[in-house]
């Protein structure tokens, strides 16, 4: 049965209901009205009225008709509402007064005719007048109609207020209102049929003054059945309320577009796109994006790049195919800007292997249409950027390309199986050709340094020739010559560097290092005079005066005397050196180191461990100072085994700085037990080096044989990093982070990934306390070698061409 022919279940056509039956039907009608089923309510009341024609049942029927008329008007069926109201008045003349306002309302709504309403208003009693005024408020869709209605006299307060509202509405929608203009509406009371118009005009004025809070406040006071309430959702949308308008009409859309310049539409369409992206619905997202892009294009020119960049990035983050979106975004052949945005978006989502070919495509297209020159800073900077995108970690590069070694990668590039833009060396060469900038040379030298040192030197030499005022290539060339053992050449480069900047710390350090190596080599070759010349030059440099370095230089002179067979001089120098150092352990270690470096048989001068006859603290000091000196110079240090064992057993009492030097010695010489013991004593001392002792402790424990020790290492390293960060000790913080990354975690900590979080102060105090109280010495393994080849992942990644394909396909189709 259709809705039209449904019968209400309550009333019978034949049986007249008794009193209780009438009450039941009334309750049923009320229930239907409450649920908005006005049609069924009218039918039920009509059946009741037919069965029992009483004043009570007639009143119930008229009530139901009234609700039905209002419902028809609410759905816009004003003509039908008017016809029904006329019918009711005709059939039930006794209830005319109750239906009359509705009849006037339907007349006003259907034809804009306020006449009957105003006529009724003039002669109505106070109660009816209030009803009619409320009705007027509901139907008054244009104040001008009221202001110009001849049935109201010129002096009628309602007409005057309507004129003011009409003029102000015209003014507020046409331009900024002058200050105080709204005062004309002050006389409109909140019971007036014009009160909703007063609130609407205030809301519009607030909107143009960008006082959105006032807009919302005024709108909330408009009764929902008043005519101006029809504009409330639109104004709310204009004022930035996120809730979209339900089924906007053509008039709604036109008004929103005209007033907001497309902003309101953009917000609505964007909400649709966001929903589609959240729902991972690419088809729906594409539909939303199509409208959104059109709206975005109507905005200012500066908006579109950010819009495209944001849209592409979020699109790729959602793992959507970029090709259809690019088809919508790109406007013709000259729109290289969008190709650039795609490359940037690919780069931002971490797909460097697709981003680099996308950048290359952008570069080629831009140059083809003369949007970018072939030479100069711009292409060079872009090529350098592309090169920087390619990982420096060769393992990552090989894994992505799914090849065994770099040679195989080069072969695939040569064969065209992979785009040649994935060859970093080639990209850098192109950058250099475009613009031989210092940054490009620096990148070229760094690229070739580990692959082909001779080529790196050639690049550095070309850099020096191109930029003769740059210090960097000279320092690199000096280092490279030093590595080859060409000390004279290295010194020549350093001479050239000194001409540019004599006091540069790198120049000074390099000169000291080269002269030291040169002097030692001459001594190794027993060329004493040449060695002494180097030592003399070395001794006058400022680098030679730092810490215990003068002692090392003196030790070289002692060695020269020994090499020359000048025994008396050697003895004298040894004695002077001993007095200068004031520590027999240190003297012994320095002499032994020099002797080992130059291959000198020390005879009876070095070899007996004097530490056994010394107080332990002084012996520790000697060993610590020797570690500071010799480790910094990268020279051999042969610590007396007995002394090291004594320190490991009980290192307490030594100065914190010396303890830290012993930590460094232990870690550098793969003697973790020494680092463990020294860091433990350092933690007991509670000094400002605590974070460094924690780092040393953590690094030592990281090589522990048992999982519990690695768990302790994790805590120490996290505490060290947190403290170092707070103390702004960036070097220690970085080392702690590196150690945390390399730490092999116990299985029960694998899922927590706690290495990224900082520790709270209480937790740090607990770590320190635990380490102080740790008594049992752990057993250590050898340190794992750094930079080992990572295991290849089992899952094969998609090959490069397929990941780059979206861009390549698109480019081919468009161009």
């Amino acid at each position: 049965m259709s809705k039209r022919h449904r019968r209400p279940p309550s009333a019978s056509r034949t049986d007249a209901p008794d009193g209780s039956g009438v009450a039941a039907v009334r309750a049923h009608v009320d229930d239907l009205l409450a649920r908005g089923k006005t049609r069924d309510a009218v039918e039920a009341a009509r059946q009741l009225y037919k069965a029992a024609r009483t004043a009570e049942t007639e009143a119930l029927l008229v009530d139901a008709y009234g609700a039905r008329i209002r419902a028809l008007m609410a759905t816009g069926l004003t003509r039908e509402a008017r016809e029904l109201a006329s019918l009711v008045v005709e059939r039930h003349p006794g209830t005319r007064a109750r239906i009359l306002p509705l009849l006037h309302e339907t007349a006003a709504r259907a034809g804009g005719d306020l006449g009957p309403l105003l006529a009724g208003l003039a002669s109505a009693d106070p109660a009816t007048r209030r009803d009619l005024e409320r009705t007027l408020g509901r139907v008054l869709t244009d104040c001008r109609a009221l202001a110009e209605d001849p049935r109201l006299s010129d002096g009628d307060p309602l007409r005057q207020a309507a004129r003011a509202a009409s003029e102000l509405f015209q003014a507020v929608t046409s331009g900024p209102l002058p200050d105080g203009a709204l005062a004309r509406l002050d006389g409109v009371s909140r019971h007036s049929p014009l009160a909703p118009w007063k609130l609407l005009i205030r809301a519009i004025d607030a909107y143009y003054r960008r006082d959105d809070a006032a807009v919302l406040a005024n709108l909330s006071a408009i009764p929902p059945d008043a005519a101006p309430a029809r504009l409330a959702p639109l104004l709310r949308c204009l004022a930035g309320e996120a809730k979209p308008i339900d089924r906007p009409s053509l008039g709604d859309r036109v008004l929103l577009d005209k007033v907001s310049g497309g902003r309101a539409r953009f917000r609505t369409e964007l909400a649709g796109l966001i929903d589609a992206i959240r729902g991972r619905d690419q088809r729906q997202a594409l539909v939303a994006a199509r409208n959104l892009i059109e709206t975005a294009r109507s905005a200012s020119d500066t908006f579109m790049p950010t819009f495209a960049s944001t849209l592409l990035t979020h699109w790729l983050h959602a793992n959507f195919d970029p090709r259809p979106l690019m088809t919508l975004l790109v406007r013709g052949r000259s729109d290289v800007g969008t190709l650039r945005q795609l490359a940037l978006a690919l780069e931002r989502v971490g797909a460097w292997e697709a981003a680099v070919p996308a950048w290359d495509g952008y570069l080629a297209t831009a140059q083809q249409i003369a949007a970018m020159p072939h030479t100069g800073r711009e292409p060079s900077r872009l090529l350098l950027h592309m090169a920087e995108l390619i990982p420096t970690d060769i393992d990552e590069l090989l894994d992505v390309a799914d090849v065994e070694d770099e040679e195989e990668l080069q072969e695939l590039i040569r064969d065209g199986a992979l785009p040649d833009c994935l060859d970093r060396g080639r990209l850098l060469e192109r950058a250099r050709t475009a613009d031989p900038d210092a940054r490009v040379f620096r990148a070229l030298v760094a690229h070739w340094e580990t692959r082909d040192p001779r080529r790196a030197e050639r690049e550095a030499d070309a850099w020096r020739a191109r930029h003769p005022r740059d210090l960097e290539p000279l320092l690199f060339l000096a280092r490279a010559a030093e590595r080859r053992g060409a000390h004279r050449k290295a010194l020549d480069w350093l001479d050239a560097a000194e001409v540019l900047d004599r006091v540069h710390p790198d120049v000074r350090r390099s000169r000291f290092r080269v002269l030291l190596s040169s002097g030692e080599r001459h001594l190794r070759d027993r060329q004493v005079s040449a060695a002494l010349r180097d030592i003399d030059r070395l001794a006058v440099g400022p680098e030679a005066a730092a810490g215990d370095r003068p002692a090392y230089v003196e030790a070289l002179r002692w060695a020269a005397a020994r090499c020359a067979g000048e025994t008396a001089s050697a003895i004298e120098r040894r004695r002077d050196l001993g007095e200068r150092l004031g520590n027999p352990v240190l003297l012994n270690l320095v002499l032994a180191s020099v002797a080992a470096t130059i291959g000198l048989d020390t005879g009876g001068d070095v070899g007996v461990d004097p530490s056994t006859a010394m107080p332990k603290v002084a012996a520790v000091e000697g060993l610590a100072r020797a570690a500071d000196l010799l480790l910094a110079l990268d020279r051999p240090l042969h610590a007396p085994p007995d002394l090291v064992r004594r320190i490991e057993l009980n290192p307490r009492g030594a100065a914190p700085a010396h303890l830290y030097s012993l930590c460094t010695l232990g870690l550098r010489t793969n003697r973790q037990s020494l680092a463990y013991a020294a860091s433990g004593a350092g933690l007991e001392a509670d000094t400002e080096l605590t974070h460094r002792f924690l780092l040393a402790r953590g690094r030592a424990l990281a090589t522990g044989r048992h999982e519990q020790e690695r768990e302790r290492a994790l805590r120490c390293l996290r505490a060290a990093r947190t403290l170092a960060t707070r103390l702004r000790d960036t070097e220690t913080s970085r080392e702690a982070s590196l150690a945390l990354r390399e730490l092999e975690l116990p299985p029960w900590l694998m899922d927590e990934a706690p290495e990224e979080d900082d520790l709270p102060p209480a937790a740090i105090r607990r770590v320190i306390e635990d380490e102080r109280n740790a008594t049992a010495a752990p057993s250590f393994t050898a340190l794992p070698p750094r930079g080992r080849r990572r295991r290849r992942p089992d899952r094969r990644r998609p090959s490069l061409p397929s990941e780059a394909q979206p861009f390549l396909d698109f480019k081919e189709r468009e161009l």
Binding site: F169, L255, V259, S260, G261, R263, E378, R381, H385
Partner: protein
């Protein structure tokens, strides 16, 4: 560029409109440095953190269009 900057500063002097002046100053600092200008041309603008934020960037125009468009909506309730 400098002339445009000075004109903008005259329109928004720091004592009367410090926020606008600050923005003008930052923009000028950005574009007068050739390297930063190149960076912006090649690698800008950065995407926004969320798509929602695009609404904030869309020009917030509030055009006066006269009463007719508003009245049309009000009249739409009639049939």
């Amino acid at each position: 560029m400098r002339a445009a900057y000075l004109a903008a500063v005259r329109a928004h002097p720091p004592d009367r409109d410090p926020i606008a002046f600050q923005k003008i100053r930052e923009a000028y600092d950005l574009i007068r440095d050739a390297e930063r200008r190149l960076e912006l041309r090649l690698f800008g603008p950065p995407p926004l953190e969320s798509l929602d934020a695009l609404v904030g960037l869309f020009p917030d125009e509030r055009r006066h269009v006269g009463p007719e468009a508003w009245l049309t909506v009000l009249r739409e309730t009639r049939r």
